[in-house]
Amino acid sequence: MKAAASLQRQLVYGLTLGIVVFWLVAALVSGLVVQHRLDRVFDNAMQEAAQRILPLAVLDILNREEPGPPQRVAPLHAGQTGFAYLVRDRQGNILLQSFSADPAVFDPRSTMGFTSTATHRLYSASALRETLFLQIAEPLGYRRQAVLDATVALLVPLLLLIPASLIGIWMFVHFSLRSVRAYRQAIESRGAGNLSAIPLHGLAEEITPIADAVNRLIERLRRALETERRFTANSAHELRTPLAAALAQVQRLRHDAPAGPLQDRAIQIETSLRELSRLSEKLMQLAKAEGGGVLSETPQDLVVLLSHVVRDLQRTAPVPIELALPPGGVVLSRIDADAFAILARNLIENALKHGAPDCAIEVDLSENARLGVVNAGTVVLAADLAQLTGHFVRGGSRAAGFGLGLAIVSTIAHGVGAELTFASPATGRADGFEATVQFVLDRQCRSDHPSS
C-alpha cells in the first residue's frame, strides 16, 4: 500500500515552490523592464554624445587646410572603453574616428537614427546638409552585462529565500495543524473498544465537518453494536424461557409418571431438551462472539469476572476447580465482561469435559493478564491441537459436546486481540491439556485504578 502523503510536507514544498516560481517570474519581468529602461538610457546617452561630438567634428574637419588621411582622436587615458565613433563624407570616406573605433562594426549604409547589429548598437546623425555623417557604436555587451547584473541582484536573495521559506512555512504550517495533530492523537490514544465521541474543540473550520462525520459514524457504530448486543440478549431470553418451561414440565412428567414406558419416554424427551438447551446456548455464545461486542469501552477487572465464573462452576463441577489469582488483585483488560465470562466458562467446561475424572482443574490468572486452564488427561496429538478451534471439532474426544466451545473461545480471543495457545502435554506435566489466553493488559488504566 502506498504510504499516505504528509499534508505538512505537501504544504511546505508546494508553498516554497510557488514562492520560488513567483520570484523567478518577478525577476524575469524585472529584467525585461530593466533592459527596456537601460536601452532608453543608453540610447539617450548615445544621442547626447552625438549631438556634442558632431559640431566639434565638423569644426575640426572644416579647419583642415588640406584633405589627408583619416584622423584618429587620441584617448583621454589608457584603457578607455565605451562607445566608438567615426565621421564619413558623403562618399563614405572616413574623415575622423575615435581611438577605439573599428570601421568593420560600422555600417556605412545605415539610416539616420538608431540601428542594431549583432554586436553593436549604432546611432547615425548628419551635418552640413547631409555632407558629413557621424556614427556612434556601442557594444551590446555593456547593456547585456547591466541587465544581467540587475537580474542577478534579484536572484541572489532567492538563495536565502528558499531555505528561509522552507523553515518559515514549515513552522507556520506546523503551528496551524496543531489542532489536527491533537485530533489525530485523540483517535490514536483511545482503545479499540472506545466508541465515545471525539472532542471537537480547537479544530480548524475545514476539519470540523470531517470530525463531525467521524463522530456521527462512531455513534452509528456504537448504536449498531448496542442493538446487536440487545438482540442477542433478547433472543437468548426469548429462546430460553420456553425451553425452561418445556424442560420443567417434562421433569415434572417424569416425576409423576409411573415407572415404565411413559417415564422412559419422558426421560428421553428430557435428555433431548437438555441437549437442545446446550446447543442453543453455544450457538448464542458463538453469535455474540462473532458479533462486534466483545471489546469494552472501559477496562474490566478480570480477577472479579474470573472469580464469578469459577464460583458459579464450582457448584456443579464433578471435580474441584482450583483458582489461582495474582496477589495484586486487579488485572485490567478491555474485554466485554460477558464475552470474558463466556470465554472463561468454555475453557473450564472444556477442561471438565475432557479432563481426567478424578483430577482437579487448575485455573490461573497472572498479573500480566495471562489466563491458563489446565486439566489432567490423555495427551492430545499435535495434529489435533491445530484443529481444535474449528467449529464442531471435537478433537477425537468421546466426551459429549458439540465441538463449539473452543471455537467460541478462539473467536472471542481473536476479537479482543488476545493470543490463544494450546499445549499437550500441559506445561510441567507428562500428560494433560493446557489452554492459555494472553489478553492485552490495560497498563495505563491499571496504574490509574484506585485499588491497584
Binding site: 440478549a233 437468548a236 431470553h237 426469548e238 429462546l239 430460553r240 424461557t241 420456553p242 425451553l243 425452561a244 418451561a245 418445556a246 424442560l247 420443567a248 414440565q249 421433569q251 415434572r252 416425576h255 431438551l273 438447551s277 446456548e281 469476572l305 464469578h308 465464573v309 458459579d312 456443579t316 465482561a337 460477558d338 470474558f340 465470562a341
Partner: protein
Amino acid sequence: MRVLLIEDNADLGQAVREQIADDGHAVDWVQRLAHADLGAQTTPYDLILLDLMLPDGRGIDFLRQRRASGDTTPVIILTARDQLSDRIEGLNAGADDYLVKPFDLSELSARVAAVTRRYSGNPNPQIQLGELRINLADRTIRRGEVAIDLTAREWALFETFLQRPGALFSKAQLEERLYEFGAEIESNTIEVHISHLRKKLGFKVVETVRGVGYRLGVA
C-alpha cells in the same frame, strides 16, 4: 417454609410451584409484580423466587425496592438473562442466588435449600440432633444405620424447627409456613403432622408449650 414465586410463564410457573410444593413448602405463585408486592407486604415469606422480565416491570426494580424498605427475605433470581453483567447486577441488588433458565428442578430445590440454610445461620447441611443424623441437602435422616423416611410436609415442618432451634412457633405460624393461600387446612392438620414426626423421630423431638405453640426438642 412459605415461598413466593413470581413467574409470568404459566408452564414454567406451574412446574416450579409443583416442585417446591413437593419439597414440602407452601408456594404462592403470582404472575405480576403488583400482586407480588401486595403479597410480600401482607405475608412473611421465607423465600422469594423472582423472574426478572415480567409484564408489568423489571424484577430487579422490585428487588431493589424490597431491600430499600428493609426487607431481608432471601431471594433467588430465576431468569433467562444469562449475561455475567446481569448476574452481577442481580447479586448487587440484593439477590442471594441466581439461576439461569433453563434449569433442572432438582438444582432449583438444592439452591432453595442452600439459601434457606444460609439464612438459618447454619449453612452446614449435616445436623446431629441427639441420636439423629440429619442431612438437609439430600433430605435424609438416620438413627444409627437406620434410615427414616418423612413425607414432604413432615420434612418442611421439621426443617422449620431445625432452622430456628429453641424458637417457639404458634400453630398459625406453622400453618402459614406450610400452606399457600387458598389451601384447605383441617383444624388439626399441624397436630397430625407433629404426631407423625414424634412417632418417627421420637416423642421429645417436638416440645409442646401449652397455650403458646411448639419448639424443637431432643431426639
